[in-house]
Structures are given as structure tokens and as C-alpha cells.
């Protein structure tokens, strides 16, 4: 059975429903990422699991035991806060030992355990330094070590990298992944950064407005987003999305996006079956748009390069197609103002119902 | 079991709270009680007066009426009205001066690192040393200037002494404004003075009000300098109280009434600026 089970969790603050109905399971040794924009209820969910907030309704099970009424310190959870909340007036050793000390663990046992954890996390040389002088990456390790030393059943991390700047974040993300492998316990990780979720999570739960929109493996969530929101939120640069209408024209079925059309005659049946109306949204990822300087196919659509963002190895091209702006990623020797030809590959296309916001293709 | 424990804990907490309450309010309750009692009840342990009267208050406003009726006449100088107005004038003007001058200096220290270490040390020193050490030279100095027993004497003195508070409290507020907000205006062509009036002051209006009220309290309650400098013309309320207290004979009722009257405005102001009190009393170093 799963390590952590969350069932129909709901939380209301005054007249604001922060978490509406959230259910998920975390298996042994699995990392789940709760991903969503600020205000989506992910942190509240985490705090309820930790026992720092009381759910308005719903159940939380840890190791099959209902813990709704169990105080935080007895739930067997480790919690790492957004800015780590290490105790600034203590040394690394004292921070790591804190949980054991307040439990009145014998001195030798404390020393032994702290040594072990410090070795595991590479904090050995810093044990007797004050945490005030440490770098962020070391503080992160202290915060994790402090929780892990108590052998928690589940580790909860609340946006641990959100206040770190880009270069450092990249390094610390790798380090987290490494630590995760090292300590190997069930983890719930909250973040608003889709890249973090993609790289660290075994599975990702994308949240919006207090609900989970989709929960799946990173690759799956990237390749086939279930809702419009997930499609937009995952991936950088974002997926291109256009409103369009499904119409029959001269015996063919096409998606008419005003400035261009896409022929979908071959798939018309499936689309028509699932769509609630002809109003659809078509989506395509920037890297799935092949760019060409020449018109290589009659289906190709003409665009004009408006802006080029160079990312080093590849570039993002901001194209104007009719009245629409569109992003494509790749590498092409063009300049701003040049004409390029693009193609839409049906395999790479995503279709969403405009009303229900749900994927239909 | 656990429930029982909780109830006991709660009961203990409220019991202790009531002890604290009695300790805090005891002196006030007794003052109120005394101020409503006729002389015949002044020596009774009852807190509720048998025959409550307002005479003790009324007598404060009559200068020549012997206080306490049949009791021994004392050297009470005058009705409370003059000292009350004196206190009001002196406290208000010196508050305005201290806050204005203090704001400028605080702004200079915060933004322009102006006024070297000596000024800062000196302002701190004026706060730390007992006022009594200045009594002797001040007497001599003011006598030479023919300032004794004048408004300007106390106003100047209060301004100088409370400046320290104004500077440190206001500096705390100014420090919280991001300097970028002012630099932006500078780039846009504002004169530094325009920035002060258009950007800084509107942003810390609340802080200025709070520090003004706090300094008003200090001025209103100042005793030592007033005692030394006011002789007959500019007697302030605290000095008036001291005259009652050291008067020959027993006038408990009027003493209590006077004390209460002097306290009421302070308590009102105190609660208005409750959250700024620490800042004031600890120099703006603790918030």
C-alpha cells in the first residue's frame, strides 16, 4: 500500500477555498511534485499533510494510518521550508541534532547519527560552523539533514529553490536530485517552476485553483497534457495556442484559425466524436514546428521573423503568421524581417475543446 | 483526562491574569475612589464611596477656594486651568519643533549620511544622561538670558531634549523607504527638497504622527526641568501636581482628581500609538 494517501482534501480560509478536492497517493521511494502557479493551493496541501493546517474535510493516511488528528511531530514527516528555516543562532551540528535533542536522545547516539548524516550530505567539515556564514546550497543540505535524521516516513519540501538565482538553482537542482537518490524516501515536492518539477519528480501533479488538473510522469505530462492549462504551464517556451474552428470546406475538414488552416480530414471522425462544439484550441510546442527558408511542401505556411531570442545552442523565433504571433524553436540562419516557411505535423499537434478546456487529441 | 488538564491550565492562566490585573489597576482604582470621596471617607478602606461627590474635581478649577472645606488652608497657587493651558502650549509647540527639526536631521542621517559620529553620539548622550546634571548650568544660563519662568525656555529645552527621540524614531521609518523611490524622482529632475515633500513625507505620514504623539507624551509629563524653570508664570501640570503632593495638610481627594485629569489624555494617546510605543521607548532599535 502507498506510503501517503490523500483523499478528497479540502481547505477553506474564511470565504476563500484554497484547496477544493485533492486526492493522490505517494508510493514507497517515489517523489511527487505538486506544481502550479502561486495561489493554486499546493503549499496549503503540503501544510495539511505536515499537520500545520487542519483540513476542512478529507483524509490523510501515512502508512495506512489516518493522521488527521495526529500532531505534526508525531506524523513521521520531515519538512523543508521555502527559505529553509534553519535556526540562525545554532551551529550546523546543533541544527542537525535539534530533533534528537528535544526527544532526549542519549548524547552518544546523537553524535553518531549527526556524524552519519553529515557524511551523507557532505557537511562533515562544517559541523561546528554557525549556519549564518554558510552558502545556500549548504543551508539546503542542513535543512534536509535536520529532517532526515529523524528517519521520517515522508519528506515534504516546500519550494526549496524559489529564492535562489538561476545559475545556483541549476546546480542545487542537480544536487537535490543526487540527495534524493541518496536518502531514497517518499517525497512530496512543491514548486511553481515546471522545470524543477520535470527534473525532480517521478510523477507530477499539476494544480490549479485548488484542484489537480493532471497527474502523470514528467514525459507523459509534457507529451500529452490533458488540459489547456497543463499544456500552457508545462514547457519553456510555452506551447503555442490558437483558437480555431472545425469546419467542413469543399469536402475536406479543416481547422480554421483565421490566418491559416490545418487539414484534419483524416482524423475528423475522432475529433468530432470527442469535441462538444466546433470551437477548439490548437496547440503546438515551439520545438515541434520545423522551420524552412524555402517552401518545401504545398501545406507550408508563410511567416515573418519578428524577433530572435538566441539561447546559445538553439534560438527562439518569434514569427508573425497573418495576425498571429507564434514561437518556434530551432536553428536557422535568418534575420529579423526574413520570411520563413513552417509546417504543422499532425502527430505533434494538440487539440483542446475551448469550452471544457480538456484535450481531445 | 486530557480535557481535565486543559481546564485546570485555563483556570490557572485566568487566575494569574487576574492577579496581574489587580496589581496593574490597584493604584488607579484607589485614585478614582479617593477622587470621588468626601474628606470624611478618605481614611476608610472602602473602595466604593458611600456618598460620592464631584467636589474634588470642581475645587481644582477654583483658585482661591480653600480645598477640603474645614481643612487647613494650604499654599495652592491657582486653578488648574492655567497649568493645563501652559502644558498644552509648551508641549504642542515643542513637539512640532522637535518633529520638524528631527525629521530633517533623520532624513539627513538616513539618506546623506550627514552629521558625523559626534552628532549621533551627542544625540544619544542627551537621551542617556539624567536631566539633573544639566540643572545647575541651565539655571545660570537661562537666568543670564532672562529666560527663567518663560514659555520659550521650556519650549527650547523640550525641543532639544526630545529631538533625539524624533530623529531615531523617524529614521527608522525613513530607512524603510527604498532609496530607489527617491532616486527615480531625482532622475526625473526633482530637487532634493521636492523629493522630501512630495515623496518621503506622504509615505511616512503615519510615522510622523506616531512620533509626534509619543513626543507629546514626553513633553506633557516632563517634570524636573519644569520644576526648575517655572516659578510662577508658566507652571505646568506636573509641577502643579507636585505642589499638591507636597502641600501641608491632607488633600487626598483633590490630589487624586488632579492626577487622573493629567493622566487621561496620555492614556488616550498611548492607546492610539500602542504599536509604536516600543519604538519610542527603546529608541527605535527594537520593533
Amino acid at each position: 500500500m502507498a506510503k501517503l494517501v490523500v483523499k478528497n482534501l479540502r481547505k477553506v480560509f474564511g470565504d476563500f477555498e484554497a484547496v477544493k478536492d485533492v486526492s493522490f497517493e505517494v508510493n514507497e521511494r517515489e517523489t511527487i511534485c505538486l506544481l502550479g502557479p502561486s495561489g493554486c493551493g499546493k503549499t496549503t496541501t503540503l501544510r495539511m499533510i505536515a499537520g500545520l493546517e487542519t483540513p476542512t474535510s478529507g483524509h490523510i493516511y501515512i502508512d495506512d494510518v489516518l493522521v488527521n488528528d495526529v500532531p505534526p511531530q508525531k506524523r513521521g514527516i520531515g519538512l523543508v521550508f521555502q527559505d529553509y528555516a534553519v535556526f540562525p543562532h545554532m551551529s550546523v551540528f546543533e541544527n542537525l541534532a535539534f530533533g534528537l535533542k528535544v526527544r532526549k536522545t542519549p548524547k552518544q547516539e546523537i553524535t553518531a547519527k549527526v556524524d552519519e548524516i553529515a557524511r551523507l550530505l557532505g557537511l562533515g567539515d562544517l559541523l561546528y560552523k554557525s549556519v549564518k556564514g554558510l552558502g545556500l546550497s549548504e543551508i539546503q543540505r542542513v535543512a534536509i539533514g535536520r529532517s532526515v535524521i529523524l528517519d521520517p516516513k515522508i519528506l515534504l519540501l516546500d519550494e526549496p529553490l524559489s529564492n535562489v538565482d538561476a545559475k545556483v538553482r541549476e546546480r542545487m537542482r542537480s544536487e537535490l536530485k543526487r540527495i534524493q537518490k541518496e536518502i531514497d524516501i517518499a517525497t512530496v515536492y512543491v514548486t511553481h517552476d515546471q522545470l524543477e518539477a520535470m527534473t525532480l519528480g517521478d510523477r507530477i501533479a499539476v494544480m490549479k485553483d485548488g484542484l489537480i488538473e493532471q497527474m502523470a510522469k514528467p514525459d507523459e505530462i509534457y507529451a500529452s497534457p490533458h488540459t489547456l492549462f497543463v499544456a500552457e504551464f508545462i514547457g519553456s517556451p510555452s506551447m503555442n495556442l490558437f483558437e480555431c474552428e472545425l469546419i467542413d470546406r469543399e469536402g475536406r475538414v479543416v481547422l480554421d484559425a483565421k490566418d491559416f488552416t490545418i487539414d484534419v480530414t483524416d482524423f475528423a471522425e475522432t475529433i468530432k466524436d470527442t469535441a462538444t462544439s466546433p470551437e477548439l484550441v490548437v496547440g503546438i510546442r515551439p520545438e515541434d514546428i520545423p522551420l524552412n527558408i524555402k517552401k518545401v511542401s504545398p501545406k507550408a505556411i508563410r511567416g515573418e521573423v519578428q524577433l530572435i531570442e538566441s539561447l546559445g545552442a538553439s534560438s527562439i523565433y518569434h514569427l508573425k503568421v497573418g495576425q498571429k504571433s507564434l514561437l518556434a524553436r530551432g536553428f536557422l540562419e535568418v534575420k529579423v524581417g526574413n520570411k520563413v516557411w513552417i509546417m504543422f505535423d499532425m502527430d505533434k499537434l494538440h487539440l483542446f475543446d475551448e469550452k471544457t478546456k480538456v484535450a481531445i487529441w | 483526562m486530557a480535557r481535565m488538564e486543559q481546564i485546570v491550565k485555563l483556570a490557572a492562566r485566568y487566575a494569574l491574569l487576574i492577579v496581574v490585573l489587580l496589581w496593574t489597576l490597584g493604584p488607579v482604582v484607589w485614585m478614582i475612589s479617593l477622587s470621588l470621596k468626601p474628606p470624611t471617607e478618605w481614611y476608610s478602606p472602602n473602595i466604593i464611596p458611600e456618598k460620592p461627590i464631584l467636589d474634588n474635581y470642581i475645587n481644582l478649577f477654583i483658585s482661591t477656594v480653600p480645598i477640603g472645606g474645614t481643612y487647613f488652608m494650604t499654599s495652592i497657587a491657582e486653578a488648574i486651568t492655567r497649568p493645563f493651558i501652559n502644558s498644552l502650549i509648551i508641549a504642542s509647540i515643542s513637539t512640532i519643533l522637535a518633529v520638524s527639526i528631527g525629521f530633517l536631521a533623520a532624513y539627513g542621517v538616513s539618506r546623506y549620511k550627514a552629521g558625523g559620529t559626534f552628532t549621533i553620539f551627542f544625540t544619544l548622550l542627551t537621551r542617556m544622561i539624567p536631566g539633573a546634571t544639566f540643572v545647575a548650568p541651565l539655571m545660570v544660563y537661562y537666568a543670564t538670558l532672562r529666560f527663567l519662568d518663560t514659555y520659550q525656555a521650556l519650549i527650547l529645552l523640550y525641543t532639544a531634549v526630545t529631538l533625539t527621540y524624533a530623529i531615531w524614531i523617524l529614521k527608522g521609518f525613513i530607512d524603510e523607504i527604498p532609496p530607489e523611490w527617491e532616486e527615480a524622482a531625482l532622475l526625473e529632475g526633482a530637487h532634493p527638497w521636492t523629493i522630501v515633500t512630495q515623496v518621503t513625507i506622504p509615505l511616512i505620514k503615519g510615522g510622523i504622527a506616531a512620533s509626534a504623539l509619543f513626543i507629546f507624551i514626553l513633553n506633557w509629563t516632563e517634570f524636573l526641568f519644569a520644576l526648575v524653570i517655572s516659578v510662577t508664570q508658566v507652571i505646568t501640570l506636573p509641577v502643579q501636581i507636585s505642589m499638591y503632593a507636597s502641600a501641608v495638610g491632607r488633600m487626598y481627594g483633590s490630589q487624586a482628581a488632579l492626577g487622573l485629569i493629567a493622566t487621561i489624555p496620555m492614556v488616550i494617546i498611548g492607546y492610539v500609538i500602542q504599536k509604536h510605543l516600543i519604538t519610542g521607548f527603546t529608541f527605535g532599535r527594537v520593533r
Binding site: 502561486s38 538561476a166 514525459d219 519553456s236 510555452s238 539561447l311 | 523611490w181 529632475g189
Partner: protein, 383 residues
């Protein structure tokens, strides 16, 4: 068209060239050398990015350009004019600070109107200009609201409007996107570039995020510890880093760096790392000419490592796959070769299992060699 009109209306000298030039600018703050001989020149109407880690001196540099901080040595020129002794306002520079200069006690309109009120323009004129700029930035709906109701992106737009309404000759932006959410940051950076083009303004932009820098900069000055290390177009900075610092700073994921020794073995010249060596005999001469010692650092971008399940040549390096991280459009594979850890960027279809042996093929054309002592580049490409 409308936008251009807005510009030419106020900016009388819109036709003249607006370049910014710094010559040997140095600054000490409390005994610390914050800026050391900073020299660069922007092009006319260029988006010039100053990129560097926090603490590199970027903010101080901008404040010196704006005239808010006095400099110790050197000269600042706007156009051909030396402006060292000019007051900030006379320099006609607009600056967007990291902390948005939007006053919480005033509405959006009053904030944007603030600089115009200082100029004592008539109410009608102020209203007209504020609305014009608000329309360009699509913030008309924010004008009547107070800043605490704005989102991060909206706050940034109002800040920009307040600066642009003065039609400055040069616009300085100090980490304007730092406090925004990742998604909004992406949108805003494009928006900024678009504005810069449309207003035809010289823009100097600082950032600690190399991605932001290469994405929108016409040219980039990479800065470290008060020194400008390299000024170049984004592709140049990426493809031809002048120093180890630039190589490491630009590019995501970061460049892999491997310590190695340059030496002769069996009449071949090789770069010898701990677990592998690379034959560099063909480019030996190029290496030797700019060397201070045999200790070198080999730089390989994750994009330039190819992985195979079997060795494809004698040069293939055996490694163990330790971790894979999915980025959606690609994956990062972390590989161990002895004590060396290498990161490679692989396609999403990459399916090797953790713990398996993988064979690394380095794209020799794209390798970098840095001198370990001077940290300067020795050679780009080992073909």
C-alpha cells in the same frame, strides 16, 4: 506609427545618435574595488545587456551612468559629450530599478504623471501623455488603481510607463525581471525587446540570468567582480567565450569542465584527463602558442556530448549513467567517468537505464581549452 509619433513629439533629437561610452570607470566603496577600469561603448539604439552574477557591480555601474553615484576615475560619455559633472536629470536617462519606483500612496496615473508634474506641464498635456504611454504598454485599466492591487508584471509595466513618459535618451534597467514568476518573466523579456525596438531607444539592461541576457541582448557585456570580461554578440559569447568565467556563466545547463594536462606521449600530443585522453596532435601548434603551462581545463557543453550504447571510435570514453532529468523537450544525462561528472543533453527519446554503461563521443569542433592559471581561452575547437 502611433508609437513613433509619441516619440518624435518629445524627443527633439530623435534623429541624432545616442551612444553611451564608458572609459576606464573605477569605483571603490568602503575599501572594496567595486568597479575596475570598466570600458565599453554601446551602439546607437542598441539593447545592451550587462550580465553577471550577483555582486559583480552591475547596479553600481548603472547608478554611475545615471549620475546617482559619483565615480572615482574614468569618464562617462553620452553621444560625444562627457557627462561626469552633469546632474542626473541633465543626462536625460531613465532608470528602472530592481525595486520598482512606484509609490504605493499614489494611483497608477499619478505615478506616471509624477515626472511630468515636475516639468510643470499643463493638466491636459499630462493627461494626454500619460494615456498615450499607457496605451502603448496596455495598462490603461491600471491607471485609476493603486499599486498594491497590481500583479508583478503589471507593476513592472507601470514602472516602465513612468520612465518612458519622459522620453529619455537612454534607458537603464536594473534586473527588472528578477522578482517575477518564471512564466511572466518569459513574456516580459520579449515585451521589453519589442518596446526597445519600437521606441528606438538605447537600452542597457542588467541581469544575473544568462538565459535572459542571450535571449534579448543585441550585445552582451559579461561582468565579474567589477571587471567587464567580454563584450560580444550573444552567439559570440556562447560560441567563443574569452575566459573560463564566461564559458561557465553562459549556457544552460552549464559547461562541463575537466582538468587535464597537455603533454607528449609516444610522439603524439595528448590532453590527459584523469580517466581519458584526447589526441590533439593536429592542433598542437595552436595550443602551444597561447599557453602558460601544461595545466589546462577542457570545456564541453552538454549539447556537444553524444552518447552511444557501443563505442563508435577509439576516442569513445566509457562512462556510467548516474541520473537522468527530463526537461520535456530534452533530457539531461549525468555520467560518471572515474571521479569526473559530465552532463550531457540528450533527446527525450533517450532510453538508457541508470547504472548502464554509456559511451561518450565529444564533438571536437565545439570543445574549449582554457589555461588553468590565467583562465583565458587557449583554443576553440580541437579539429
Amino acid at each position: 506609427m502611433r508609437r513613433l509619433k509619441l516619440l518624435s513629439g518629445d524627443l527633439g533629437e530623435a534623429g541624432t545618435m545616442v551612444k553611451l561610452k564608458l572609459v576606464n570607470v573605477s569605483k571603490r566603496i568602503r575599501k572594496e574595488q567595486v568597479l575596475k577600469n570598466v570600458t565599453f561603448e554601446t551602439g546607437d539604439r542598441e539593447l545592451f545587456v550587462i550580465a553577471g552574477p550577483p555582486g559583480a557591480g552591475k547596479t553600481t555601474l548603472l547608478k554611475i551612468i545615471a549620475g546617482l553615484v559619483p565615480l572615482d576615475e574614468g569618464e562617462v560619455y553620452i553621444g560625444d559629450e562627457m557627462v561626469n559633472y552633469k546632474l542626473p536629470v541633465e543626462r536625460e536617462i531613465g532608470m528602472v530599478f530592481e525595486t520598482p519606483a512606484v509609490y504605493p500612496n499614489r494611483t497608477g496615473f499619478e505615478n506616471i504623471a509624477f515626472p511630468l508634474r515636475l516639468k510643470r506641464l499643463s493638466d491636459g498635456e499630462i493627461k494626454k501623455q500619460v494615456h498615450e504611454v499607457a496605451e502603448v504598454l496596455q495598462i490603461t485599466h491600471l491607471l485609476d488603481r493603486k499599486p498594491h492591487t497590481y500583479s508583478g508584471g503589471e507593476l513592472q509595466r507601470v514602472t516602465l510607463a513612468r520612465v518612458l513618459v519622459r522620453s529619455p535618451r537612454i534607458l537603464l534597467l536594473d534586473e527588472p525581471l528578477k522578482n517575477l514568476d518564471a512564466k511572466i518573466r518569459e513574456i516580459m523579456r520579449v515585451e521589453l525587446k519589442r518596446l526597445q525596438r519600437e521606441f528606438g531607444i538605447t537600452m542597457i539592461f542588467t541581469t544575473h540570468d544568462q538565459l535572459e541576457a542571450v535571449a534579448i541582448g543585441d550585445r552582451i557585456a559579461v561582468m565579474n567582480e567589477g571587471v567587464i570580461v567580454q563584450v560580444d554578440a550573444p552567439e559570440k559569447v556562447y560560441n567563443f567565450p574569452k575566459t573560463l568565467f564566461v564559458g561557465r556563466f553562459v549556457g544552460s545547463p552549464s559547461m562541463n569542465l575537466v582538468d587535464c594536462t597537455f603533454r607528449e606521449a609516444d610522439s603524439r600530443w595528448v590532453l590527459e584527463a584523469e580517466e581519458f585522453s584526447i589526441d590533439v596532435t593536429p592542433v598542437k601548434d595552436r595550443i602551444v602558442t597561447s599557453l602558460t603551462g601544461p595545466e589546462l581545463i577542457l570545456g564541453v557543453r552538454p549539447q556537444d556530448i553524444n552518447l552511444g550504447e557501443k563505442p563508435t571510435s577509439e576516442q569513445s570514453i566509457e562512462a556510467t549513467l548516474e541520473i537522468t532529468q527530463s526537461l520535456g523537450s530534452e533530457k539531461i544525462a549525468e555520467l560518471r567517468v572515474g571521479s569526473i561528472l559530465l552532463r550531457a543533453l540528450v533527446p527525450p527519446s533517450f532510453a538508457m537505464k541508470i547504472g548502464e554503461k554509456a559511451y561518450i563521443e565529444l564533438n571536437r569542433e565545439k570543445l574549449f581549452l582554457f589555461d588553468k592559471k590565467t583562465e583565458n581561452i587557449v583554443v576553440h575547437g580541437l579539429l
